[in-house]
């Protein structure tokens, strides 16, 4: 009775009917392949620059020699101990923020639904600064506090937005409100701090990959290794969710449960990344929309989004270190903020005229 797969269905398709479909598919996968390759190429170039350029610059052959373990002692120290951890962390948190933003935006069908806009990363900052300034936490405990802060804020938003189900715009509006509350708390904490303490806390406000520690890198890597396959398995459901709750449910997707699971994954990614580097502003917010625009196929574009996130984080850190006038070294989060803010304005200015969501 469940009519599994109707017998003979495959036999009755005329080649003339199947051909345009196959052509459309091939065209689409060619496009995603080339987008992924270009992004990977760009990422390799930025990575090479980040490792080679600095107060002590290396030539390409020197860099390759060092990476294969044949560098001099000073080259080894500069490239492998100073620059490589920083680059690795930037790439990993870029991927994590981008995937987190892509999941939030897709699940809630709203381009503004991103952990940095709705206060999830802000919650992490507030908890970290609270731990540092009030409770006197060390580095590791502060990261744990940041992780917990993101989870708590996300949980509060979810519960406040719940009305027998979660709707995207309500989630976003409550999230924006919570983000303001969290900012207020941060301002209060900083105003009570001594100048020295405030300087240290500042990193939690903007986000920076300088001083990357291997324990942060491995924590981020483990979380990505566990969650990326889970996202892969859930991507079919995510694609159904893109068609709206009614259609998704009629296709057999348990929409509320799926949404909750995907949001938990997204929060875990953002929380881990923020615990490692602070809230790298707007990476989560812009990566998926940029990837989808470049790809232009209406697909989920999770892999291109992850690569765009990695690229933005790496470029932002490189820019912050080397490209600003007057030897000024800034935290990477200032650069990502400078990229993201105009996009936010553009989105707010255009979204109502076109009336289209994520």
């Amino acid at each position: 009775m469940w009519g599994a797969v109707r017998a003979g269905a495959a036999a009755s398709v005329r080649p003339a009917d199947a051909a345009p479909l196959a052509r459309a598919r091939a065209q689409r996968s060619r496009r995603s392949r080339s987008v992924v390759l270009v992004l990977l190429g760009a990422l390799v170039i930025v990575a090479a620059l980040s490792l080679a350029v600095g107060a002590y610059s290396l030539s390409v052959p020197d860099l390759l020699r060092t990476l294969t373990g044949q560098g001099s002692q000073s080259e080894n120290f500069i490239v492998l101990s100073l620059r490589l951890p920083r680059l690795t962390l930037a790439v990993l948190v870029g991927v994590a923020f981008a995937l987190s933003g892509a999941l939030f935006q897709t699940v809630l069908r709203n381009p503004l639904a991103s952990p940095d806009i709705i206060g999830v990363t802000g919650g992490a900052s507030a908890a970290a600064v609270f731990g540092m300034l009030i409770l006197g936490f060390g580095a590791v405990a502060t990261s744990v506090a940041a992780f917990a802060g993101a989870i708590i804020v996300a949980g509060v938003i979810y519960l406040l937005a719940w009305r027998g189900g979660v709707v995207g715009y309500r989630f976003v509006l409550i999230g924006v409100g919570v983000a303001f509350m969290v900012q207020g708390l941060l301002g209060y904490l900083l105003s009570r701090a001594t100048r020295n303490d405030a300087q240290g806390a500042l990193l939690w406000l903007v986000g920076s990959v300088s001083g990357a520690r291997w324990q942060d890198i491995s924590a981020m890597a483990v979380v990505l290794l566990v969650l990326i396959p889970v996202i892969g398995v859930l991507s079919a459901r995510l694609r159904a969710l893109q068609l709206g709750d009614d259609l998704a449910r009629s296709l057999g997707v348990g929409t509320e449960r799926t949404r909750l699971v995907l949001l938990v994954i997204a929060v875990a990614l953002a929380a881990t990344a923020t615990a490692a580097v602070g809230p790298l502003a707007f990476v989560a917010f812009v990566s998926a929309p940029i990837a989808r625009r470049v790809l232009g196929t209406g697909g989920l574009a999770l892999i291109p989004a992850a690569l765009v996130g990695a690229l933005i984080a790496a470029v932002a850190d490189f820019t912050a270190q080397h490209l600003l006038p007057g030897q000024l070294e800034l935290p990477a989060g200032i650069i990502t903020g400078a990229i993201g803010a105009p996009y936010l304005l553009w989105l707010l200015a255009t979204s109502n005229t076109t009336g289209k969501g994520a």
């Binding site: 009775m1 797969v5 398709v13 345009p20 479909l21 398995v233 694609r239 009614d246 259609l247 009629s250």
Partner: protein
């Protein structure tokens, strides 16, 4: 044999505001059932209840005699499909991608895309004459083309019972006929049970094997178009004076509304 979809003592509502009260409806397998009624008579709500989109406040919907709420969602989705009135699609999605997403319930954790899926998607597109649109973006299509693509997606889901909420809204008359012919063809050739909400009474009468007339959350008539579209029932359900004549094309009843300014003069 297609399982039977039935509503038994079904009450539905939103946020505890009742819309449908104690409704019994038996959908004949292999037939086309059309639900008509005035605005806010609960037509779409019934469709949502039948397809598990709304949880019953009382009563149940059964599929093949089993409570649909207790069956796994994906299993139900291989038998019952619903095309909502205004489905949404991500920006930039291509026709091929959209239609392919209809295959979701037939895929498992490990059973990924297969050549059978490919064949069924190609068939669905051929049946709706959308195969040449495969590489186009949905938003670049005309309203009629877009609706055919959505129906192709619903056909790719390959349900034995297909529910459609006003599939002809926003279409001009040519495309309305095109869409309804397509559904009739599907019904006659594949035996797909079709249940749809329509606004146009005359098209409803022409395409329906069974007509369900609703008013204020209750069924006021249920039967063949000839049985159900009488002047009296139309007056009761729509508060409309009308004359019923025979459709010169197919003999189905045709509702000719009278209104305030016409038809008061004794017929010549």
């Amino acid at each position: 044999m297609t399982p039977r979809l039935r509503a038994e003592g079904l009450s539905l509502g939103y946020d505890h505001i009742p819309i449908i009260d104690d409704l019994d409806l038996d959908l004949v397998p292999g037939a086309i059932t059309v639900i008509v009624g005035a605005n806010a008579s609960g037509k779409s709500t019934v469709l949502k209840g039948l397809s598990r989109l709304l949880k019953p406040e009382a009563g149940q919907v059964t599929l093949g005699g089993r409570n649909i709420a207790a069956l796994p969602g994906k299993k139900v989705a291989t038998v019952v499909g619903l095309l909502p009135q205004q489905p949404i699609a991500p920006e930039g999605i291509t026709v091929a991608d959209l239609v392919s997403r209809g295959r979701y319930p037939h895929q498992g954790w490990f059973r990924q895309w297969s050549s059978t899926d490919d064949a069924i998607v190609a068939q669905a597109m051929a049946a709706t004459n959308t195969q040449q649109l495969a590489a186009r973006r949905l938003e670049d299509l005309s309203g009629g083309q877009r609706q055919r693509v959505w129906i192709a997606m619903a056909l790719a889901q390959d349900p034995e019972i297909l529910l459609l909420d006003e599939p002809t809204t926003f279409l001009d008359v040519t495309h309305q006929i095109e869409v309804l012919d397509l559904l009739l063809e599907r019904n006659r050739e594949h035996g797909t049970t079709v249940v749809m909400v329509l606004h146009d009474l005359n098209l409803a009468a022409r395409y329906a094997d069974h007509l369900v007339v609703m008013r204020a959350g209750r069924i006021v008539a249920n039967g063949t178009p000839t049985e159900t579209l009488t002047a009296e029932i139309v007056r009761h359900a729509f508060d409309l004076e009308a004359r019923i004549v025979s459709d010169p094309v197919c003999g189905a009843p045709m509702v000719v509304p009278i209104g305030r300014f016409h038809g008061r003069v004794p017929a010549a």
